[in-house]
């Protein structure tokens, strides 16, 4: 008997309408990319939640890990000058 399986895992991203970002909405199992796309349509857009879909093999996703979160994102922590509030603008100056 061959090995029974539900197929690999895919991550699904939906774009609500043109101009908006693709947002992760969940995952599903499918055997190939066509089936993944059709399953994503049936599973995640039954009520017109999307006008475009991406499906990505879950195994292809590279993710940061929570243990390294501190050092990994650290470079951004001491650069307050990247935020507009860092700068002082004399009172009375408008539109800036």
């Amino acid at each position: 008997m061959s090995k029974d399986s539900q197929g690999p895992l895919w991550e699904v991203f939906v774009q609500k309408k043109a101009g908006q970002p693709f947002v992760h909405c969940g995952s599903l199992h499918a055997y190939d990319k066509e089936m993944a796309l059709e399953n994503a349509r049936d599973l995640y857009t039954r009520r017109s939640e999307g006008s475009a879909l991406w499906v990505v093999p879950a195994a292809a996703i590279v993710a940061s890990s929570p243990e390294d979160i501190g050092p990994f994102f650290e470079p951004a922590n001491d650069k307050v000058y990247r935020h507009p509030t860092f700068y002082q603008i004399p009172e009375g100056v408008k539109y800036i």
Binding site: S2, D4, S5, Q6, G7, L9, C25, G26, S27, L28, H29, Y31, D32, M35, D42, L43, R46, R47, A63, S65, P66, E67, G70
Partner: protein
């Protein structure tokens, strides 16, 4: 951050701050186990829940009600799939989850071991069973585990159609002929107490509950949810002109809620043990669907493999 005390402190502080725990975060082994059990039971309930309703698809009284019921049953399947993938983020495979269901090792909600004898039962299931499920699911939108919470948010958005379609059926029958009204009352009589059991045993007899609340997996206790359900449902039954089959049901001004009878907990444990009217039938139907589909999975896998080979050869 890698020592054991720190990761546990970090986990607890997340719970205190009402933050979410995500799949790759450290979590206590028992938290993981509790979630796998709860989420997979929830998923199995959605899938088994398709069976009692599926029973009426071919006999729905109109094309409209048939389309609606098909859409509802399809939603239940979808809910099962959202929940299975949420459980899988905890490190268990879909095949293991399904295996546990098919061998009877895993449980599902005992309510689905009752039969749907008449069309009014489809109304009562939507109104009462989905109504009770919503009560639980609304709370679970704020559960501490991120993927479970996200699945619940999706499910809640879809679930209110289910309850409304059920209530609509109850309205039609309750305001119809005498025979139809009788049919509606009969369905309420049979579904009321099994629905009350859906919230689980009383708090004093529910050892898992306390821990689940500490972990913020659950946010309200079984008894709190049951009370809320009764308080909301009584008026809906009155509107229909139907009588809830509980002689002790009475408004209690001091607690601003209804007093009511406990369901028969002996029956509840007996159904969980496998002795409900439909346990055997449900499990057989699920196993049959799974084994009948084996060739489809095999063919789809072979087709995917073959296409991969063709790409490599080209």
């Amino acid at each position: 951050m890698s020592n054991a005390v720190d990761v546990e402190k970090n986990f607890n502080s997340k719970l205190e701050k009402n933050d979410f725990v995500e799949p790759k975060d450290w979590m206590p082994e028992n938290y993981r186990k509790h979630l796998i059990r709860q989420i997979s039971q929830h998923a199995h309930s959605e899938i088994i829940g398709m069976l009692p309703e599926g029973n009426w698809i071919s006999r729905a009284p109109s094309l409209r009600s048939k389309m609606v019921l098909l859409a509802k049953v399809q939603d239940e399947g979808g809910h099962g799939l959202y929940l299975y993938t949420a459980a899988e983020t905890l490190g268990i495979s879909r095949d293991e989850l399904l295996g546990a269901l098919h061998t009877g090792k895993a449980k599902y909600s005992s309510i689905f071991n009752y039969p749907t004898l008449t069309w009014a039962d489809i109304g009562a299931v939507g109104w009462l069973v989905d109504g009770a499920a919503i009560m639980n699911q609304v709370m679970l939108q704020r559960t501490s585990y991120g993927p479970y919470s996200r699945a619940m948010i999706r499910i809640c958005k879809e679930e209110s159609f289910h309850q409304r379609q059920g209530y609509e059926i109850m309205c039609r029958l309750s305001f119809g002929t005498e025979a139809q009204k009788e049919m509606a009352q009969d369905a309420l009589n049979r579904w009321w107490f099994p629905t009350m059991m859906m919230f689980g045993p009383p708090d004093k007899d529910s050892p898992n509950s306390e821990q689940a609340i500490k972990w913020r997996i659950k946010r309200e206790t079984n008894d709190e949810l049951r009370q809320k359900f009764v308080d909301r449902t009584v008026e809906q039954a009155e509107f229909l002109g139907l009588t809830i089959p509980d002689k002790n049901l009475k408004w209690n001004e001091t607690k601003k809620g209804y007093d009511f009878s406990e369901p028969n907990w002996e029956e509840f444990y007996n159904v969980i043990k496998g002795n409900g009217p439909c346990n055997k039938e449900r499990l057989e139907a699920r196993n049959k669907a799974h084994s009948d589909g084996a060739w489809v999975r095999e063919a789809a896998m072979a087709y995917a493999e073959k296409k991969k080979e063709n790409i490599l050869a080209a």
